[in-house]
Symmetry: C2
Subunit: 341 residues, 2 copies
Amino acid sequence: MGNSRRLEPINDLVERALNGDRRSLSRLISRVENGGPDSWGALSTIYPRTGRARIIGVTGAPGTGKSTLVGEIAKFSRKNQPDQKVGIVAVDPTSPFSGGAVLGDRIRMRDLSGDEGVFIRSMATRGSLGGLARATTDVVKVLDACGYDLILIETVGAGQSEIDIARTADTVIVVEAPGLGDEVQAIKAGILEIADVLCVNKADRDGVQSTINALHAMLDLGTAAKGTLHHGVLMAASAPSATSAERWRPPIVKTIAAEGKGIDELMAAVEQHQAYLTAHPDGQQRARLRAAIELETVLREALLNRLLASVGAGRVDRAIEQIAARTIDPYTAAEQLLRWP
Amino acid sequence: MGNSRRLEPINDLVERALNGDRRSLSRLISRVENGGPDSWGALSTIYPRTGRARIIGVTGAPGTGKSTLVGEIAKFSRKNQPDQKVGIVAVDPTSPFSGGAVLGDRIRMRDLSGDEGVFIRSMATRGSLGGLARATTDVVKVLDACGYDLILIETVGAGQSEIDIARTADTVIVVEAPGLGDEVQAIKAGILEIADVLCVNKADRDGVQSTINALHAMLDLGTAAKGTLHHGVLMAASAPSATSAERWRPPIVKTIAAEGKGIDELMAAVEQHQAYLTAHPDGQQRARLRAAIELETVLREALLNRLLASVGAGRVDRAIEQIAARTIDPYTAAEQLLRWP
C-alpha cells in the first residue's frame, strides 16, 4: 500500500483484467504463472467468477496437426458465436502457439492473433516437476474469470504431467493422424484412456480407415481397462466411482484441420460429451478427480516453497554439494532438511 | 521383527538382491517403486554401493527407434564386455520394454531377455506429477548397487518430467530419425539442450543429411541458449557454473539400430563425453544438478505424504468434495490443510 515497488499491486491487475484490459490480463497471467502467495491471493479473489468457461483439452503426438486443429476450433467458435471469447493455452513445446513453430504454422495462425476476442498464451515448458501443471490450471482460471467462454488447452500427448494437464479439462480431444509410423500413436502412448473424443486429423491421408479401425478395436478392448489410470496421491484415498451401466464411448471424428474440414462434427461431439457429463454420475466423479489434481498440484508447490523458506537456500546448497560429492545420500539429506528447524 | 506380515522384510530383499538373486531384485525394485519410509531405509542402506555404474539416458520422439537402439547398446556391451551386466529401465510408454510394443519389437528384444546379464525393468507411467521421476532414479540406484555396470534409461523425449528423468543420467543420447515430419523433432520439442550425444537413427532413410544439417545448424545457434533450461526450485538457489572456454559440443552419430550398425561409433562418442565430464568443471556442475534434481524429487514426495499422514484422508476427501462443489477454492483449501493441525 502506497509504497512504490516496481511490481504493480496484483489486486489492481486483477481489477483491470476483470474489466477486459488485455495488457493487465497478460501481466496478471505472468504473475500467476510465477506462483507464490501473492498469486494465491489473486486466485482466491477471482475464484468465485470461475467455473463458467467450457474447457477443452487437445492432446496428441507431434505431427498430428493438433495446433492447426486448435486454431480452427477457435476460428469456428468465433465465427458461430461472435459474442463468445476464446482463450488458447499452449503447453506443447511443438506448438506454433508456444514458439516451436515453423513459418507455415505461424502464417496459419496470423488471422487468429488479430482477433480481439481471442487470447493466446504459451506456457514456458521449463518448469520442473509439477510447476507447469499448477501454472497451467491457474492461467486457465484467470481466463475463465476474465470472461473467456471457451478455453483450449493444447498439450503434447506424451509425458505424465502433460497428460495430467489435459485431464483438468471438461472434455479431452485426443488427436491422431494416419501414417505417423507403424502404429496408432495414441495407443502406444497410453493416452487413449483420457480421450473423451477421438479426432483423426489429416483424414485426407492414406491409411485413415486403418487408423479408425485400430482406434475402434482399442476402444472395444479398453472398457475393461478404464479406471486403471493413476489419479494422484490424494485421489487414491477417495472413493471409486459407481460404475455406470452406460459409459461414454469416445466418438471418432475425422477432420482435415488445415482445410477447416470436420470442425463442426468435432464440436458437435464435444457438445454431446458435455451433455453426458451433466446427466451422468461420471460428471461428478470427473469434477472430483479434477479437484483432487488441482489440490495436489497446489499443495506440492506450496510444501516445497514453504520448506525452502524455512530451511534457507544455504542449507539446501550444502545438502546438494554433499549429495554431489556422495558424502550423504539424498534420502538422509531430505530427512535432515525435513527435521529442520 | 518376528511378526508374520505378508511383505518380506525389505532388508532381507536388499541382502539377497546384493548377492545377485534376480527374483529378490525384482521384488526390491517393486517395493522401491512404491516409495515410502521403508523404501527410504533400503535406499540409504544401499547408497554407499552406488555410484559405480555408467548411466546413459536415451530419449527421443516416438518413431525414432530408440527402443531398438537401447536393445542394441545392451547387446553391444554384453558382447564386448561379457563380465559387465546391463540394466534397462524403460520409462517410455511407447517402448517394447514397457509394454507398448508391437509384435516385431518384441521379437527383436527376445534374445536380450534370455541373457542373465541383462535386467529389464519397465516403469509404470501412471505415477503422477513427479512420482515417476523419483521412482526411476531410485530403481537406477538399486541396479547400480546390485552390480549393474551399465544402466540405460529410456524415456520418451517429450514431457517435462520425462526430460528431467533423462537428465539424471551421466550421458544423454537424444535420438532423431529422418522423415518423421516436417521438422527435426528434437528441435521442436526443445530437448536438444539436454543432448550430450546426438544419434540420427534409421540413417538408411531418405533425408538423413538434411536432418544432420539441421542439427548442426541448431548446435551452432544453441551454444548461446545453453544453460537457460530450468533446473528446478532447489537448483535456482545454487550458484551458476563457471563458463568453461571449451564447452562440449554434442557429436552427431549415424546409426541403423535395426541392423546393429553404428553402435560402436555411438558408444565411442559416449566414452568421449564421459572423459570430458571427468576432466572439466562441467562434470562437477552436472553432478550438482543431478543432486539437486534428486533431492527435489525426494522432498516433493515426502512432503506430500507427510502432510497426508498428519491431516488424514477424511479431511482431504472433504476438501476435494468442496472444491468439486465449488464451495471453496483449491488455494484456500490448501492453506487450511497446511495449517493443520
